[in-house]
Symmetry: C2
């Protein structure tokens, strides 16, 4: 078995942050694409939550992930701390993107191979960090269906 030091690097911290921010930029465009009066009310398939609630969850998990990445605690978010308008959501989104740009590149790369205790279990930093992005892709894609059901063309998936 190879040690971390001798394992070939297939991904750098910088490329990981670029990947994350690319997805965040796309999700921001999906939030913006919703009519303000549908973002927190419309659902294409009850009991699914409106996209504003899904985006709020993405925001809370992303904030938590940045905390973990910086070597802090993995405190379970206050799920009730809901952003309730498109403007509120977009402002919080932009503020967190700026924090990620400023703080994530300085993270210790050992974060990804170390094991962490999250509210939902023990896992490596890689698994925790990519789960955060996967969860964003998953819920955002549901927003794509909601937009289609509203007759709105969603932003192109391949643009980041």
């Amino acid at each position: 078995m190879m040690t971390t030091a001798t394992r070939p690097s297939i991904l750098s911290l910088e490329d990981f942050v670029t990947h994350w921010q690319g997805h965040r930029a796309l999700t921001r465009r999906v939030i913006e694409a919703f009519p303000e009066d549908q973002l927190f009310t419309f659902t294409a398939a009850p009991p699914m939550r409106p996209f504003g609630m899904l985006a709020n969850e993405i925001h809370l998990v992303s904030e938590m992930t940045l905390g973990g990445l910086k070597g802090g605690q993995w405190n379970e978010p206050d799920w009730a701390a809901a952003l309730r308008s498109r403007d509120e959501l977009l402002s919080a989104w932009d503020a967190l993107s700026e924090r990620i740009a400023a703080e994530a590149p300085g993270a210790n790369p050992a974060f990804f191979t170390d094991t962490h205790q999250l509210p939902w279990g023990e896992m490596t930093g890689w698994v925790a960090a990519i789960y955060n992005i996967d969860n964003e892709i998953h819920h955002r894609a549901q927003g794509y269906v909601y937009l289609r059901a509203l007759g709105i063309e969603p932003p192109a998936f391949y643009e980041r």
Copy 2:
């Protein structure tokens, strides 16, 4: 700027393959969750394609990605080569998962940092490989909405 050799490794090829196969196992459960007569016909929001067509696309892009990963060509799939029943789709799925298990771990890790020419542009192997998985998560999540619209509880997202 650090060279590939000196960049800290935040992800191993083995962990990447585990990540990919975990998503493939979940998508397989989503395919199975569809009633056979809805998989290739139902859509929650026209003009979106039925989930069987989305799963067929995931299959073709995954097969192409394995080809690229092994150092082969990035030939554009024959998009018309459609699998048209749930059984056909699941058999092709399982066969490809077995090929990934057998062939992907032997890939050259330099694949991820090298630049490749894909039918949709020039990118690093990392970007191409993670795009493949992101596209799977994206379309599978749309299948989650379809299942909900059909009154069916989808498989748990966090189980891989």
